[in-house]
């Protein structure tokens, strides 16, 4: 029992990782965009679980908050509005199916083998202590202030660009 409890974290980690992988793989084979979106949402939630188990709770929270709560909601909106049911007769995969699969399975294998052999296994000594929200935020705003500012500039640019594209849309509407 104690053994099982001590390993519960690891077991859950493996389970979440496996579920995330399966949902990611399902994204390639499902036909309907909405189901792909559901698979992606579940993949993101499982990844959030993985982050949580690693002790990075705030990253887990932001993973679900930003990816699921903002990005995927927007995506589901687009799918709802575009009504992509018309493509049911069409082909699911493009002409690049086989080259894509072969090339990328090779890539995945190379990456996997690379990690398998070279990576240091355990965390390096005392450096592996988990860091919490307070430490992270202090570091974010003092050491990495440039990144912070760049992020906000990027967001501003995105907002302006989105507005520009929407305006283009409007022009087509009325023109």
């Amino acid at each position: 029992m104690t053994d099982f409890l001590a390993n519960l974290d690891t077991l859950l980690l493996w389970a979440f990782a496996g579920c995330a992988f399966v949902s990611a793989a399902l994204m390639l084979v499902l036909r309907q965009p909405m189901r792909v979106a559901i698979a992606l949402v579940s993949c993101m939630v499982f990844l959030g679980g993985v982050y949580g188990l690693l002790g990075l709770h705030f990253i887990a929270a932001f993973q679900v908050l930003i990816y699921v709560g903002a990005v995927m909601v927007f995506m589901v909106y687009a799918i709802m509005l575009l009504d992509p049911r018309d493509e049911s007769g069409g082909e699911k995969f493009s002409k690049l199916l086989w080259p894509g699969i072969i090339g990328l399975s090779l890539l995945a294998e190379a990456l996997a083998v690379g990690y398998w052999s070279d990576l240091p296994g355990a965390p390096r000594g005392a450096a592996g202590e988990p860091f919490d929200m307070v430490r992270f935020s202090a570091a974010f705003l003092s050491e990495y202030w440039l990144h912070f500012e760049l992020t906000s500039v990027l967001l501003l640019a995105a907002v302006v660009a989105a507005l520009a594209v929407i305006k283009e849309n409007r022009r087509h509407d009325h023109g």
Binding site: M34, R35, A61, V134
Partner: protein
Amino acid sequence: MIADLVISLVFIGYAISVLMGFGTILTWVERKQAAVMSDRIGANRAYIRIPGTQVKLVWLGLFHGMADGLKMLLKEDFKPRTYDWYAYAVAPWVVFTPVLLVFAVIPFGGSLTPARLWEPLSAFFGDKTWPMQIATLDAGILIVFAFSGLTIIGAMLAGWSSSNKFSLLGALRAGSQMISYELVLGLTVLGLILVYGTVNLDAMVRQQSGIVLGFLPAWGIVYQPFAATLFLAAAIAENKRIPFDLPEAESELIAGYFTEYSAMKMGLFMFAEFIEIAIIGALFTTLFLGGYNLPYMSDAGFAFPGGAAVAMPHGAVVVTQLGTFLLKVFLVCSFQILIRWTLPRFRYDQVLMFAWKFMFPLALANLCVTAVVVWAVRS
């Protein structure tokens, strides 16, 4: 290790029974309170007959929640001819589960030391003390927002997969409304985070235990009355209840995104809504009403400003804190129901306008003022 597990399981059981209890009771409270507010008698017919006798336990109709649940379970599970049955089946659970999970980060009591509760327990639990909270996470309030993001997806899936125009409209409305108000919700809480300097809900509650100005309890609502109002309004909008219930406005959209649902699937949506009332109550209590704290009360007992003190044993303190929390949550729930039966519904453009042009700037202004004040006080 095993003691941890046992304590966690006890807490989880307590949390789930509290939420389910609130979900069931609130269906009755809503009807009964509406009736009392409008000079009626209200739901009072459901009863349980003691087997073998003619004694009927009516208890003011308290069993109406159970009767509702039973009815939902026994109804025909009608399935529309939908384009995507998978999304249709999974949507109620996507709405329901996150609502339950949110309670994991909310502290529903102070600290619990089983050894001081009852002497023989120390053989098993040792001298350890546990905070009465299922998951003590440093992300705290962020988890709450993350899970409410999941609920949006569920509502939109439900509306889209029903192949019904009303459902689709309801889903669109639900999505935009919930995103808009979640932003306002987050902004209002930011001011509180500035005041307390933490996002951990347990730490927030512990900071609300003192007294300010000699007599006022150091609750969040004293520091941030404005944010409290905005928070409650945004939270009600997030829960899609009157006056913000445009996604499920009966007179225009039948039932909005769950029009096509029946039996227990529909019951899950309703249940999620009622549990979310309790969750909003718990969040508001935790953030603004001092959580489980009573004024003048600490872990040792009461200590009144006049110098009088009442010492209390650990068990009594624990029970008082649990009871205080539940009472506060119930009062906030009752206030939400009061709002629901008082205000008329907005128009849809007004709902979004209200979020973006009225509440958003106000929340932003509140945040700026708070930041300046906190900076001035701290430096």
